[in-house]
């Protein structure tokens, strides 16, 4: 589990090319590395540093700032139960207790079989549908304890593998800009004039 694969390297280079400064691509690339292995390995960070031209310490500094990046393998399904106010008001703590009992691990832990990692999450932007949770960042809304049991059953049985990919895979659709359609990165070094359409005339 290490450096980016050749296939991902192609994607990485495409991502890097979109930005005026290479370092900007760091977070998307870290996601790519996490998609590849389910977590971000040391070698991956070294590789990303080489790709965007920064030291591995800088990659590490950026990566550890963000909560979604994991530096050690975790369960296939990351169950994030929101505990912020709206969800807490609607019983998120009880849901968490139930989940802890059901999975047999404390929040933050991973089940023995490596299937589930249970975690506290902060507000996930589904407050009116409290309590809510995310499995690998896919929403489940107004989750009762029974819903949670069903969800875990389904995940264990592999029924949801279509909808919910393994941890690390975020969006299943990637932006792709066809070379003939893209304008290309606009970097401060190369541009010092007003854009063409700002000439006081209509563009069409």
């Amino acid at each position: 589990m290490s450096r980016l694969t050749d296939k991902n390297l192609v994607i990485a280079k495409e991502i890097i090319a979109r930005y005026p400064r290479q370092k900007s691509a760091l977070i998307p690339l870290l996601h790519l590395a996490q998609e590849q292995s389910g977590y971000i390995s040391r070698e991956a960070m070294v590789h990303l540093g080489e790709l965007v031209g920064v030291t591995s310490a800088e990659v590490y500094g950026t990566a550890t700032f963000y909560e979604m990046f994991r530096f050690e393998p975790i369960g296939k399904y990351l169950v994030n139960i929101c505990g912020t106010m709206s969800c807490a008001l609607m019983g998120a703590h009880e849901l968490m207790h139930h989940a802890e009992k059901r999975l047999g691990v404390k929040a933050g832990g991973t089940t023995q079989d490596g299937m589930f990692t249970l975690a506290h999450a902060e507000c996930q932007a589904a407050c009116t549908e409290a309590p809510c949770l995310q499995v690998n960042y896919r929403y489940r809304l107004r989750v009762s304890t029974a819903d949670l049991d069903n969800l875990i059953d389904d995940l264990e049985a592999g029924k949801l593998s279509e909808e919910i990919p393994a941890h690390g895979v975020l969006a299943k659709v990637r932006q792709h800009i066809a070379p003939d359609r893209g304008v290309g990165a606009v970097s401060p070094e190369l541009v010092d004039q007003a854009p063409a359409w700002l000439n006081g005339k209509a563009a069409l």
Binding site: Y60, T62, E67
Partner: protein
């Protein structure tokens, strides 16, 4: 800045002056200056932790909050990020401000361990001081503090204690902004934020010691100083570092007559407060137990301790005997290590004895003529619109000059045009980096300077050439030819000569350089090898280890009848000397030194010389007396007076008190020119690699090998070639190979290095394990080597 008197007639208002009020007192400030910087010129101290005048502001610690009057009433701002504005009214000690400052301090101390008694910073700690001056007095934090593993070694030299860290961003900013080695970074977030390196990767910056110096708490401490002393039992004096020729201003600190620490002093013209790790930590060699502490004299069982009078008598006898066969049979090598006064005393003695063969360089520099070209100072270099680098890797050889030049390039003040045989520390910051194969630089320079783009850049303003020897495996004349091409294209270019040895410029100025057309060090050694030298006087030099052509030196030493060495250690050259006189080391003597730009500043004695060591100048006068020559000086002051009146270059420092701080520039006149010359060079055989030999920061230098903290960092010998070349010869990265010239070869590991260009090979000089000098032949123009797999 002009002070504006409103009552005066014809007021000329300086547009760059801003009038502000700090605590009801009028203060003049520069446009764009920060409030905190303006307040620093008044008596009102604004507490701060993250602010550092030599780095960009981040406004992180929030300690420097002050109130500024606005139309909507007083507003709290951080003074380290707020620029002054005309008519601004600033208050630094209102109740609100005090409350905020006390609050921030209480919060900073909340998780800060109170282990001040065991902390190296205790007693000189800004957090401690400001907790007393601006803190609330008591903490209400009853919770358990944050805990991390106590100090972790993040490099060979630096320890990090994360519990003590207050996250001011100074070290990380320094590493990123100033040193360009962002190998430490904040990690995690919020209350868990900590400074760390990448896991298992050391903070191997050449400038890591500066982070220790600027850390406002004891989070970063240095191994060489760890638990050695406490601030209150330290005595200190200002001095100038002589580890290389940059001449950084330092404070030398000692405790109970032992050196414990060097700290950088912020002076504008040179080092801005920064030091390199070698200069900062090689003081350990002064304390070394291997130091020479008494005169030695050759006996049947090797060198034996003797008294000064006997040693001086024997030395005098040897010299007298040698002089009997003519002044040409005595030669002096070295002298760049000591002070100007040391060198002057020796030069005077040599003058009186008629010895013309002297050289303070050892064939690895450039002709002293370059000091007679139109000179630029470091400041002028960094203000030039174009800096042409025709020099060794500044990061490796003159580290703090590298910081200055890098800063100029980073802040877009200057553009660097680099001519280099391999990627240097400044290559990433160069506007254009032009590579050349050793020997072809003149041609490459000519072609480059002819391009239109470069010509446009050159016309933008001042051009300064940083000139030095980039490659020991080529004839020095190639560099001068390339310089000739530059002068041809840019006749008014100035030169910043970068010869590496500490006081080489001073030594040359006083006359420790070939006199009356006698040859340089290599000529002297060649003569010695031919048996024409009777007595060789080594002034702190070790030709057997230092001169590139080991074969030549070995032959020279074999044929020289007697050797007199004045040194601080036993080394390869004086191991078999006839007389060894122990010299006082740095910080054991007072005098002046001259840096590469010709800045004369003082070096100061801080500790008693070990044993019976004496300063070189004293040895010279006493040896003179033994030889019946009176140099006419009985004290250092007299010597200094005599030097400043006799040597025109030093007239500027006669009775000049400034040599105690910023120093004074020596008087120099541009009398020399270097013109274009044609060079003919043999082509390289396509199977061989043209050799580049240069120095790195940590090598087998005496001061490094005798400093326990540095000795572990010295790199092991290896040869570096381009990865593509490595693939071509089918050798695995890191394996041992044989590198050979006509009849000699050495075996050492080979490493792939993309900063080495195809067809060349880089061989760092004077590293441990393998001596690379057998490959170097001073008589040949360039060296082409074969690289073969071992079988």
């Amino acid at each position: 800045m002009t002070i504006v008197d409103p009552t005066a007639e014809n007021i000329v208002v300086d547009p760059n002056v801003v009038n502000i009020t700090i605590n009801d007192k009028p203060v003049l400030a520069r446009k764009g200056e920060l409030i905190i910087a303006a307040a620093d010129r008044t008596d009102d101290f604004i507490p701060r932790f993250c602010y550092h005048p030599r780095m960009s502001s981040v406004g992180m610690c929030r300690q420097c909050l002050v109130e500024v009057e606005t139309p909507r009433g007083p507003m709290m701002v951080v003074s380290c990020m707020t620029p002054v504005a005309e008519g601004q009214i600033v208050r630094t000690a209102t109740d609100t401000v005090k409350k905020a400052q006390e609050g921030v301090l209480e919060l900073l101390l909340a998780n800060h361990p109170l282990d001040c008694p065991v902390c190296d910073k205790g007693g000189e700690c800004p957090l401690q001081d400001q907790a007393f001056s601006h803190g609330p007095g008591e903490s209400r934090f009853v919770e358990e503090k944050r805990h991390y593993e106590k100090p972790i070694a993040i490099s060979e030299i630096v320890y990090l204690d994360r519990e003590r860290c207050i996250l001011c961003d100074r070290c990380t900013r320094f590493a990123d902004e100033v040193a360009g080695d962002p190998l430490i970074s904040f990690t995690s977030r919020g209350n868990d934020t900590q400074v760390l390196t990448f896991p298992d990767e050391p903070f191997s910056s050449y400038f890591s010691g500066n982070t220790v110096q600027i850390c406002p708490v004891g989070a970063l401490t240095a191994k060489p100083y760890r638990f050695k002393a406490r601030p209150w039992d330290i005595e200190q004096t200002e001095s100038t570092c002589t580890s290389c020729s940059v001449g950084c201003r330092i404070v030398v600190q000692s405790s109970r007559d032992e050196l414990v620490r060097f700290q950088g002093v912020d002076i504008d013209p040179v080092n801005w407060g920064w030091l390199c790790d070698r200069g900062r930590y090689n003081f350990e060699s002064v304390n070394s137990t291997e130091r020479l502490i008494a005169p030695l004299i050759k006996s049947d069982s090797g060198l034996a301790t003797t008294s000064w009078s006997i040693a001086l008598e024997s030395a005098a006898r040897i010299i007298r005997t040698a002089l009997a066969s003519g002044a040409d049979s005595v030669a002096i090598l070295g002298g760049a290590r000591g002070t100007n006064e040391d060198a002057f005393a020796w030069a005077s003695l040599a003058d009186q004895l008629g010895i013309t063969q002297r050289d303070s360089q050892l064939g690895d520099g450039l002709t002293p003529e370059i000091f007679n070209l139109e000179q630029a100072t470091i400041d002028q270099t960094c203000a030039a619109s174009t800096i042409i680098l025709l020099s060794p890797d500044l990061k490796e050889e003159l580290p703090v000059l590298y910081l200055r030049v890098r800063d100029a390039a980073q802040k877009r003040k200057s553009r660097i045009l680099e001519f280099t045989p391999r990627d240097s520390g400044l290559t990433p910051y160069a506007w254009r980096s032009v590579s050349f194969e050793p020997g072809r630089q003149a041609q490459v320079v000519r072609e480059t300077l002819e391009t239109q783009e470069i010509q446009e850049q050159i016309r933008r303003g001042e051009v300064v050439v940083v000139l030095g020897r980039a490659n020991l495996a080529e004839n020095e004349s190639f560099t001068l030819h390339a310089l000739g091409e530059i002068f041809h294209a840019i006749p008014n270019a100035k030169v910043l000569p970068v010869l590496r040895r500490g006081n080489v410029r001073g030594a040359v100025a006083v006359g420790l350089t070939p006199q009356k057309n006698s040859g340089d060090a290599i000529d002297i050694l060649t003569k010695a090898a031919a048996g024409k030298i009777e007595c060789l006087i080594l002034l702190g030099s070790d030709p057997l280890a230092d001169v590139a052509d080991s074969d030549l030196v070995a032959r020279a030493f074999n044929r020289t009848r007697s050797v007199i060495s004045i040194d601080t250690f036993i080394n390869s050259s004086n191991r078999n000397a006839d007389v060894v006189l122990p010299a006082a080391a740095f910080a054991e003597k007072t005098g002046t030194t001259t840096n590469l730009e010709g800045r004369i500043s003082n070096v100061t004695q801080q500790i008693t010389p070990r044993g019976t060591c004496r300063p070189d100048w004293m040895i010279a006068t006493e040896l003179g007396l033994s030889l019946g020559i009176d140099l006419g000086v009985s004290s250092l002051d007299e010597l200094h007076q005599k030097m400043t009146s006799n040597i025109p270059e030093f007239s500027s420092c006669a009775n000049n008190p400034i040599i105690n701080s910023d120093g004074v520039l020596m008087v120099s006149e541009a009398s020399a020119t270097i013109s274009r010359a044609s060079v003919v060079l043999v082509d390289r055989n396509s199977y061989s690699y043209r050799l580049i030999v240069s120095r790195t920061m940590y090598d087998n230098a005496q001061s490094t090998t005798t400093s326990p903290s540095l000795v572990g960092i010295i790199t092991k010998s290896a040869i570096y070639v381009n990865p593509l070349d490595l693939a071509r010869i089918g050798v695995v990265d890191g394996t041992n190979i044989r590198v050979g010239i006509a009849d000699k070869s050495i075996v050492l590991p080979v490493n792939a290095h993309s900063g080495v260009y195809r067809g060349t090979a880089w061989l760092p000089y004077n590293h441990t394990t393998v001596d690379v000098r057998p490959l170097l032949d001073i008589t040949s123009d360039v060296v082409d080597v074969r690289i073969e797999q071992l079988h």
